[in-house]
């Protein structure tokens, strides 16, 4: 049986045109998806039951025991950390925020090690963006800055930009000028019309130089900036100013390099300047399937997209103080609940090591690098396969994951709801 228009839960592209062939409860074939989609949908070696660490190793326990123990651990903590949330659906995320509110905990999602700095920049200068269809139908200049879509978002170019035919762009490759800016000649750079090789960590200067050129102040610039000849910058600025619709996409090359969110801020201000000449938009290439969803859910409940600290009863936000890596590095949290993410693999070890020192609970279907660090893990459904719910694409468009497999595992929203109710019951509120 073939299920049509399945939504891929893996990356921020949230491609929703996959056709999945299913026989009983096993997936046989995935069509239209990229290699990452196939891997995400077909893998299926989940934990059979919740496991708890013992003095000598691990033991399997029931969901009831696991849930009660989780609630007791979190209630006993003075500064619990709730981290992750990006690979699950909106319903589970909002219960997570309510749990954090009840406990006076710190809650953070994976933006903190991905596009958190982009959010900081947006909070300083705004975000002149658009949905991906606007780029697909109109963009004649596409800039990829500090990102490698062929590796991280394989179908981005074919569904939305370089190779996508649009209403006003009938022949994509002829009508679109693609500019790639990166520190090395990546696969994406191969197909670019213009490749700018930039010295590592100097994006801020180059973006400042481009802004000066667009403002007509290019004359004061030195001959070469961050390894790029001034002439190339003038040429690129000219291409952008002459575009009918320009779109900048940026990735972790800007958010992770030195300067962090100030690089993104400069890119946004460049877009603002270009908007005085023509139509220009800028959008981050969000990594996880539903990380933008966790930002949206956190924002409409607490007011802040990530790194929210309820310790004082109100919602307090200050990346660098209330972000997961900092709290773990300082050893501030005395209990942790990790949901739908893998800090064991993706956090610096000095931060991840703290998870092993405190009672950590992990809710994740697979055995991950966080499993050894945690004291208790509960497997659950996988959003987009055997659980449905809302996910937000990298441009903010909400799409609903499809559930096309029955599952014996509980939905993580149900697990979290039972934890939430248990906490409320113990608190007597």
């Amino acid at each position: 049986m073939i299920i049509k228009d399945v939504v891929c839960p893996f990356c921020g592209c949230l491609c929703d045109d996959l056709d999945v062939e299913v026989d009983g409860q096993t997936i046989i074939k995935v069509q239209n998806g990229c290699t990452l989609a196939e891997a995400a949908l077909t893998g299926n070696n989940r934990l059979p039951a919740p496991i708890r660490r013992t003095a000598t190793g691990w033991e399997e326990i029931s969901f009831d025991d696991a849930i009660r123990e989780t609630a007791d651990i979190l209630l006993a903590a003075d500064r619990p950390l709730l981290y992750g949330w990006s690979s699950t659906h909106g319903e589970a995320q909002s219960i997570g925020v309510h749990i954090a509110e009840l406990l006076g905990a710190v809650i953070d999602n994976t933006s903190t090690v991905c596009h958190g700095p982009s959010i900081l920049a947006i909070q300083e200068v705004g975000h002149p963006g658009c949905t991906l269809g606007q780029v697909k139908n109109r963009a004649d200049v596409v800039v990829y800055w500090g990102c490698n879509p062929t590796e991280a978002h394989p179908r981005h170019m074919s569904r939305y930009t370089t190779f996508a035919t649009g209403f006003f762009v009938p022949e994509a490759q002829k009508d679109r000028t693609v500019i790639v800016v990166d520190t090395r000649r990546t696969e994406s750079a191969e197909i670019a019309d213009e490749f700018i090789q930039i010295e590592r960590g100097r994006d801020y200067e180059v973006l400042a130089a481009l802004r000066a050129i667009v403002r007509g102040k290019g004359s004061i610039l030195p001959r070469e900036i961050a390894g790029i000849a001034r002439e190339q910058l003038f040429r690129v600025a000219e291409i952008c100013m002459k575009a009918k619709f320009g779109a900048i996409f940026f990735g972790l090359g800007l958010t992770m390099s030195s300067g962090k969110y100030k690089n993104v801020r400069n890119a946004i201000e460049l877009t603002d300047e270009l908007n005085r000449h023509t139509k220009f938009t800028i959008s981050p290439l969000r990594g996880h399937g539903n990380v933008y969803g966790s930002n949206e859910v956190f924002t409409w409940i607490t007011g802040y997209p990530y790194a929210v600290d309820f310790a004082r009863g109100i919602a307090f936000y200050n990346p660098g103080e209330t972000t997961a890596v900092d709290i773990l590095r300082r050893g501030e949290c005395d209990a942790a609940l990790i949901v739908a993410s893998d800090p064991g693999a993706h956090f610096p070890h000095a931060a991840a090591a703290h998870l092993a020192k405190i009672p950590t609970i992990l809710i994740d279907p697979h055995r991950t690098a966080t499993t050894p660090l945690c004291r208790l893990q509960m497997p659950c459904t996988m959003a987009g396969i055997d659980a449905e719910g809302t996910a937000y694409r990298m441009d903010g468009v909400p799409i609903r994951y499809k559930k096309f497999l029955e599952s014996s595992y509980p939905d993580d929203a149900d697990i979290l709801k039972r934890i939430h109710d248990r906490i409320r019951e113990v608190q007597g509120s």
Binding site: A77, D78, R79, L103, G104, A105, L120, Q123, E124, R202, Y204, E205, A208, A209, R211, A212, R215, K217, I220, L221, P222, E224, I225, A226, S258, G259, K262, R265, N266, E269, F310, A311, R312, Y317, N318, P319, G320, E321, R330, G331, E332, D334
Partner: protein, 260 residues
Amino acid sequence: MRVILETKQRKKPFLPIEAETIIPRNFLKGPALTVFEGNKERLLSDLFWIFVEGTAVSPDKVEVILKGDTARIKRVGEYMDTGTIRIQGDIGMHCGNFMSGGVIEISGNADAWLGREMLGGSIICYGNAGHYCASGYRGEKHGMKGGRVEVMGDAGDFCAEYLTGGEVHIHGSCGDMAGVEMKGGQLIIEGDATRPCGNMKDGTCMIFGTVHHMLPTFEKIDTKKLPDRDGTVVVYKGDVANRGKGILMIKKPLVGETIS
């Protein structure tokens, strides 16, 4: 009146303490104040040995002294308007934020956001200051508006971000992007700095150490001799990527490196 607060041993020493109630004015009514340890409210006496010497009629006569393991005590001196706080060790984040008067002296190091959004008064830190020293809050258009912050040691990244008024004097070196988004006030850095004063709109910044990766969007307008400083400084106007009207004076521009 002098109030000495000495930290007690804590079961969980790594939990941060939020102590915005520790300001001289509050001790006029006696030391029965509360602070937060993680998400739990504690009496001041739970976490500190409290010694009170003498009395005071007005808050400006109150001197608070913090001793012991104070590195994780945050928001000390918030909204302080008068009096003195002396911290003998290190101090946690947000020390002296929104301060409008009085004096804070820190013998050890200060954590991030020292003197955030200050309006007046003065802070002197003999050790090093963390990141965002004398800066603003996320999304705000103005950082420090007045008063004086002096750091004898080094300061971290984003020092004096969004500086709008007042004076920041760093005797050591600064990390990356000191004085970024500056729009007023005065920032003096005796030591080195990297990519200072990005997007500077106004105010003056003087750097007497070495500037690394000078931003290309500053226009050299002058070289001059400062009265109380030997040697000459190069004067730049910027940041022209913005409508820059700020003044950036640099002592030793590294030939080649600063230009590129």
